[in-house]
Amino acid sequence: MVFSYRLGPASAVITVHCRFFARYAEVLGRDSLELRLAAPASVADAVRELRTTLDRGAHLPERPLAAVNREHVPLEHALADGDELALLPPLAGG
């Protein structure tokens, strides 16, 4: 499924592969989706979009832990086309 976001004629569009884990996957009823965003877009922009457009998206926190391409990133991190964005519930490993 693809969600589009504020696409004007002058905007470049990027597609981000979103992944959800543990409680987030349970709440959203899915563990991944493709998200289209107008560039430039940060992780925070992607989270805002997911929270407003997904069923039960409001159950995601406004400032979740996030990883891009399997590395922890701050919410200000700029997304690039093809990135894998993962939203991580509070970690409980070890």
Binding site: A22, A86, P90, L91, A92
Partner: protein, 136 residues
């Protein structure tokens, strides 16, 4: 070398062999086990779920960081995923060094970083058939 992530019981003896060397006189092993505490209620089992590709990558990076800080130490780590019975370790961290201070410090560094950074979550199953994700 052992995999960093496993779905089998952690073989601590084998990991210890991997980092043993006649020049390293001090070895410190940390085992983190599934704990059943009073507030948990009747947990029958705990399932560890992970973002596996990132978990391996992050654990490897933590080991690299430890190696940079303690070049004389040999370190190993393994995280178990899937159902882990109460009492069995879900994570093992090992550090061997010529002197014990470095072995203790490297082992502690790795487990603290692992707790803070590894993308792993616990799914608790209760006797009444319900289950929930435990927030750390």
């Amino acid at each position: 070398m052992s995999r960093l992530v496993t779905r089998d019981p952690i073989d601590v003896a084998r990991l210890t062999m991997e980092i043993s060397d006649a020049g390293r006189g001090g070895t410190v092993v940390f085992l983190g086990s599934v704990r059943r505490s009073a507030e948990d209620g009747p947990v029958t089992e705990i399932e560890y779920a992970g973002y596996e590709e990132m978990l391996s990558r992050e654990l490897a990076q933590i080991l690299d960081e430890a190696h940079a800080r303690w070049p004389n130490a040999a370190c190993a780590a393994q995280h178990r995923l899937g159902v882990v019975p109460v009492g069995e370790p879900s994570i093992a961290i090992l550090a061997a060094a010529p002197h014990r201070a470095a072995a203790f410090d490297a082992c502690r560094f790795i487990i603290e970083a692992a707790k803070r950074r590894l993308p792993v979550w616990k799914h608790e199953h209760f006797e009444n058939g319900t289950s929930q994700w435990r927030e750390a």
